[in-house]
């Protein structure tokens, strides 16, 4: 990518922030309606420990949910491709879980796990949201294995384990990585939604900070927590994009252009 294209989003961001700051000051918009960026930064710096702890809490739940989604999604995808019967039986329910809004499931999950274990409820809800792209993409990837390569493995008497490990999983890798990019963002969304609906447990995440600041009409602090959430989402996406690029750049057309 050329330097101007690389810099373009940063320049646009700087221009928008400057315009925002200028307009808020010029029109004398009250901070509780729309705080200027400088007030948001001030709110961030005013209480870095609390916001930092909340960031850490949200990050922890998100990463746990993401890790469970990846391991569970890949494992179930492997089972699906091994047993068409199991796939037929379970797939509709996986879809139901996916299409039912997580907001609607949250109160039920909370009742089931108990109000004293809100953290667990958050983890389950975030997992539900993050799980499906992994399952769907990995299943598609495993089924997209080249028929010629399958013949080759059969010709050499490869065991089922060898076929899975040396053929099917590498074939599915580009699909899995694409699914992980979607799932990483969804895990964060799931964590935030779960905290909105279920409330906070032993730890208080960024969503709770937003609710709390909203109740106090502390809009700059709301924006501060919101910007941390955005940065977290961007960091997750950027990290997974980097992983995707590093893993695929030598062999897959989707990333080879970046060489």
């Amino acid at each position: 990518m050329s330097a101007p294209r690389r810099l373009a989003p940063f320049i646009l961001g700087a221009v928008v922030l400057a315009a925002w700051e200028g307009l808020v000051r010029l029109l004398a918009i009250p901070a509780f309606v729309l705080p200027p960026p400088s007030a948001v930064v001030a709110a961030l710096l005013a209480d870095p420990e609390t916001l930092g702890l909340s960031l850490w809490f949200t990050l922890t739940v998100t990463l746990q949910a993401f890790a469970l989604a990846v391991t569970g999604g890949v494992a179930l995808a492997i089972l699906f491709t091994r047993s068409p019967l199991l796939a037929s039986a379970l797939y509709p329910y996986a879809v139901i879980l996916q299409v039912t809004p997580v907001m609607a499931i949250a109160p039920i999950v909370l009742v089931w796990v108990g109000y004293e274990r809100v953290d667990l409820a958050q983890l389950i809800l975030a997992w539900i949201v993050a799980f499906f792209p992994i399952l769907g993409n990995t299943t598609l990837g495993l089924r997209s294995t080249d028929a010629g390569l399958r013949d080759l493995f059969r010709l050499y008497g490869a065991s089922k384990w060898q076929v899975l490990w040396r053929l099917e999983l590498p074939s599915a890798l580009p699909y899995l990585l694409a699914g992980m990019k979607i799932s990483g963002g969804l895990a964060l969304i799931g964590t935030v939604v779960a905290e909105f609906v279920a409330g906070s447990g032993t730890g208080q995440g960024l969503a709770w900070r937003i609710v709390d600041a909203s109740n106090r009409l502390n809009t700059p602090r709301m924006f501060a927590a919101l910007s941390l959430l955005s940065l977290l989402g961007i960091a997750i996406f950027a990290l997974l994009s980097l992983v995707q690029r590093l893993v695929l750049r030598r062999w897959h057309d989707s990333e080879a252009g970046h060489l």
Partner: protein, 260 residues
């Protein structure tokens, strides 16, 4: 027809009918001698590839059976497909080593064999390259190296050079013959090119379509080693003419409606 080498492999009345009712092959009987180089020549859809897939054990015949002088062990059959069929995520050396890895051959021994074979097919400098970084001809060379890495007794090739340009194809034909002379495997080469089949093989099996069947079995007594000079030799021209006539006849039989 000359019965020089002892029968190594024999197809006895092999037929294949697919579940949808299509009769792909009917009553294929064919004896292949050890060390022979056989060309299966015919138009698209006359079951040439299906015969190879039966011999490779990838498809079971609906009728008839396949007799071996000695049952083939794992790795005794090498196969080169129409496409290079390389794993895009693995380097060329890892692709070529695959059959040995699957057979759990010791890594040091496997690597030595891969290195030697890559040198033989002219890919020594590309061992660490990935398939997408190679030309079509080079990918095919890698596929041939992979098929030979287990030192197979039988090499099955399913129109391997069909997608390549003429110059690359002729070079690969020469290199394939050199490998065959060197390693003395038995070779079955499927092609729709009469010229390629005659250049490579000691015997041409001409196939007729719908349902796939053997129309003619033509011995080709051309001298070895074969090189560019052969392409302008009168004996080569004559052999091509004979096979072409048989092929036209095979198609003509179908055109006048004299099917099975």
């Amino acid at each position: 027809m000359g019965q020089g080498p002892p029968p190594f492999l024999e197809l006895q009345g092999v037929s294949k009918r697919y579940p949808n009712g299509t009769l792909a092959l009917t009553d294929i009987s064919l004896a292949v001698g050890e060390g022979e180089f056989l060309a299966l020549v015919g138009a698209s859809g006359c079951g040439k590839s299906t015969i190879l897939r039966h011999i490779a054990g990838l498809v079971a015949p609906s009728a008839g059976h396949i007799q071996w002088s000695r049952p083939p062990a794992a790795g005794a059959i090498g196969m080169v497909f129409q496409e290079p069929t390389l794993m895009p995520w693995a380097s060329i050396q890892d692709n070529v080593r695959l059959p040995l890895d699957l057979a759990k051959v010791r890594r040091a021994e496997a690597d030595a064999r891969v290195t030697a074979l890559l040198a033989q097919v002219g890919l020594a400098d590309f061992a660490r390259a990935y398939p997408r970084e190679l030309s079509g001809g080079m990918k095919m060379r890698a596929a041939i190296a992979r098929a030979l890495v287990t030192r197979p007794r039988l090499l099955l090739m399913d129109e391997p050079f069909a997608a390549l340009d003429e110059i690359t194809r002729q070079k690969l034909n020469d290199d394939l013959l050199a490998l065959w002379r060197d390693q003395r495997f038995t070779a079955l080469f499927v092609t729709h090119s009469v010229y390629e089949g005659v250049y490579l093989a000691g015997r041409a099996i001409v196939m007729a379509p719908r349902p796939g069947r053997i129309h003619a079995d033509i011995p080709l007594d051309l001298p070895h080693p074969r090189d560019e000079a052969l392409r302008t030799d009168a004996r080569y021209a004559d052999a091509c003419r004979r096979v072409s006539l048989a092929l036209a006849d095979a198609m003509g039989v179908h055109a006048t409606g004299g099917g099975a």
